[in-house]
Subunit: 481 residues, 2 copies
């Protein structure tokens, strides 16, 4: 609970119109895509680094938590006020300050919606590749905090690869500039890449310098249909071994296919698996690469490989791909959505293992995702009103994580740890590594006021006070405002 | 000075054959490419993370500095034992543990020489792009510590972009694994990218998982000759604006051209400037990109653009490029070699400013380097036996740094801060940012035993006890062993 003094000071800092304390307003900032509710005590809409700095300084002196928030579309609880406190919403800091076509850089405020930024950039013939499924509503600030990825990561990398420099407010209120506006720089420690993906626990990003690349000349989308899931998974490695790096290389299993086709009617085939592949580059390169991809898929057991003709067909295919997550609620009302990554060549083993776990625990588990970089979204479907099934679902997640780590993988490729995965951290990281990370947190945030309860296991998380990585049961991802 | 007890313990840890204490042996580990001498008290040749851990634990309890060392080819003093202590040489940890052609990764020990690694990788049709000029002798461990770049950074990025995960011994002796073996991962803070480029101050790398890419099918080398330096610099931006990203895009000014031609006789033209450009990719793509590059160079005022025919010509051109640094000693016996970076479009302004500084201070300053990513090696030539000229040279460096920062650049793109640039740190970074970095250092190394006196300005550095970024006056870069 905030004192009246603190509330008045918040109003003074951001202006009365930019501070909210009413219960109905707070509710709008109390959830993310994990379908859990943690109301804050206040929401402030900041407009500058200076405002953020004043709030953080007060948080240290008065002892209340501060939670930075983009669009609230995260899958791991990164923006949830699990201990109450003041939500700093960056949604009104939404200016694209500069798109520099000579240096291929852009300077943006954190509240810019990814999709809008991409549209502006593409108008100038440039390209900002990160493309999480939330791209129509998630913000660049949130993308930076979580190091968002997406299908194009296989060729283009993730958000971290595009952040050159930041203006960040440290938890203790100092405003610093990290990184460079240039292609490279090695002066001091790399605070930029430390901030990206730190889930809002080390600082509040108030400005970012992003790297852009030339927009590829041509793109071609292919759909390869496989009668066998493992063959499709093996073909993924086959394509890369043939030295073609597609711009996207997505695997969709039979369960997902069936659900999304019933839901979105995009004309997807009934099959055990498909690979949805996009190649981009020069016009000639795209033709050549498509031929290689087609040949490899057929060699690895595809029954057909079809090239999408026309923009509409491509759009429908991607619409279907993005609708999978929501469509799965046709199977069961609840879902645990994890985004494990394994070395590409181990995808067949991962998929096989997941199938075995699903059969043994009598669950439906749908697998789809960014196979090209080994990142598979494993979706455990269940009904939470059935305690037996809920227990089985949680057991399945633990087993999937253990299998992932055995296969030298990581338990999260894109979604982050947040609160959802905090209890599993020690499956992947040795205590000494966790300790080193905690030392960084303590060095930056000695009073633990910035986004507390995230990443590192806390008592509350261990007790399982909230559901693991669960998505909005409604079928519509919760997207904040 | 080390006690007999410490010496005996060092011998016990690494074996008598792997510990050196004799003056003549220590001398071999007392310098790097900055042409300054700081003898250590002992050199140990480690063979495992466990050995490194035991030494670091003892360093904390007994209070002596530990300095990790690769090949000692650094340009900023990163491997110099400026406060004495124990050098940990990783040169005997030189195994390539694995090259995984399915997952496009490699696992290496830190002592592997970059060139040897690249040869092994290329045998398998794969590619590890970082290519500092020291590539024939520098080690992967040193490359990681300094975040080495090279001409290919314009297209392929720097060492940091290829390090997926590390085994690191922390200053307090804990052995941790950072990062992943997969294409992505967002579990916890990014300790990997924090370690890369931290100049051996945050940990000792004992193993690295590196990312590989497919070897490009074809390469073409072009030499564009310009009667005007500024035109050449402007053409650099022109090429990128035309959406061609060459694999290298090097600028060489007239001073450098003259020196290297007298020295290496590679058939370089006498001109105000040349651009040495390489494009790579598919056979068709290379032809197309070369045509664009040629057209743009002519538009921007080139007098000729020539495509190198045959492997020998290409090799000679690159040999000449790599010989520039050494050949400059024909002008003057001493040299300060800085590697500033500015946004690409500001290169003409930087070059113009450097010319003005050179004229005003009556110095010869040669500029060459990786113009494609804005990284120019500015070489201030002088004779240190002439105190007036030595003073002018130091003033010139300070002015070049100030100009760089004004142009929104960074004072080091590749070489690091080390001891050479420590005194200039505050030109680029705000006190709050330096403070944040120091807090990380203190969190990892509370007793300050690992590579002390580096990055952060210390009294000794401020007093100018050693020359700024000076290279070996002999003309042969000091390369360690």
């Amino acid at each position: 609970m905030l004192s009246e003094l603190v509330k008045n000071e918040l109003k003074r800092i951001v202006g009365t119109a930019n501070a909210a304390f009413a219960r109905e307003e707070l509710l709008c900032y109390s959830y993310d895509a994990t379908n859990t509710l943690y109301p804050p005590d206040a929401v402030v809409f900041v407009k500058s680094a200076e405002e953020v700095s004043l709030i953080l300084k007060m948080a240290n002196s008065e002892g209340f938590p501060v939670i930075p928030r983009g669009a609230g579309s995260g899958f791991s609880g990164g923006s949830l006020p699990v201990e109450g406190g003041v939500v700093i919403s960056t949604e009104r800091m939404n200016g694209i300050i500069e798109i520099d076509t000579e240096n291929l850089t852009a300077v943006v405020e954190p509240g810019v919606v990814l999709w809008e930024f991409q549209q502006e950039v593409e108008k100038k013939g440039l390209f900002y590749p990160p493309d999480p499924s939330s791209l129509r509503f998630s913000t660049l600030g949130g993308n930076i905090a979580e190091c968002a990825g997406g299908p194009r990561a296989v060729k283009y990398g993730v958000t971290k690869d595009y952040v050159l420099g930041l203006e960040v407010v440290l938890p203790t209120g100092e405003i610093i500039n990290t990184g460079v506006r240039t292609a490279k720089g090695v002066v001091g420690y790399d605070l930029t890449k430390l901030m990206v993906g730190s889930e809002g626990t080390l600082g509040v990003v108030t400005k970012a310098t992003l790297k852009l690349v030339p927009l590829p000349e041509a793109t071609r989308t292919l759909l390869a249909v496989f009668p066998d899931l493992k063959d499709a998974a093996t073909a993924v490695s086959g394509i890369i071994k043939a030295k073609v790096i597609p711009s996207t290389l997505e695997l969709i299993d039979g369960v997902s296919l069936k659900c999304v086709e019933e839901y979105a009617k995009a004309g997807l085939p009934e099959a055990e698996a498909v690979l949805l592949i996009e190649v981009d580059g020069s016009r000639e390169g795209v033709v050549k690469d498509s031929e290689v991809v087609e040949r490899i898929c057929m060699e690895y057991g595809a029954q057909s490989v079809k090239s999408a003709t026309g923009k509409d067909e491509v759009r429908d295919l991607w619409k279907a791909r993005r609708a999978i997550s929501a469509s799965l609620f046709r199977v069961k009302p609840n879902k645990i959505n994890e985004d494990v990554v394994v070395p590409r060549a181990s995808i067949p083993e991962l998929i096989g293992g997941v199938r075995e776990i699903a059969d043994r625990l009598n669950l439906t588990i749908a697998c789809f995702g960014h196979a090209g970089d080994g990142n598979i979204h494993v979706n455990v479907m269940y009904d939470k009103t059935n305690p037996c099934e809920a227990k089985a679902a949680e057991d399945a997640v633990t087993e999937v994580f253990k299998l992932t780590v055995e296969l030298k993988g990581t338990i999260s490729g894109e979604h982050g740890v947040g609160v959802s995965k905090a209890r599993y951290l020690s499956l992947e990281l040795k205590p000494e590594a966790i300790e080193a990370m905690k030392r960084i947190k303590a060095a930056f945030d000695p009073n633990g006021i910035l986004n507390p309860g995230k990443i590192f296991p806390k008592k509350a998380a261990e007790e399982g006070a909230y559901m693991v990585g669960a998505e909005a049961a409604s079928g519509v991802p919760a997207t904040g405002l």
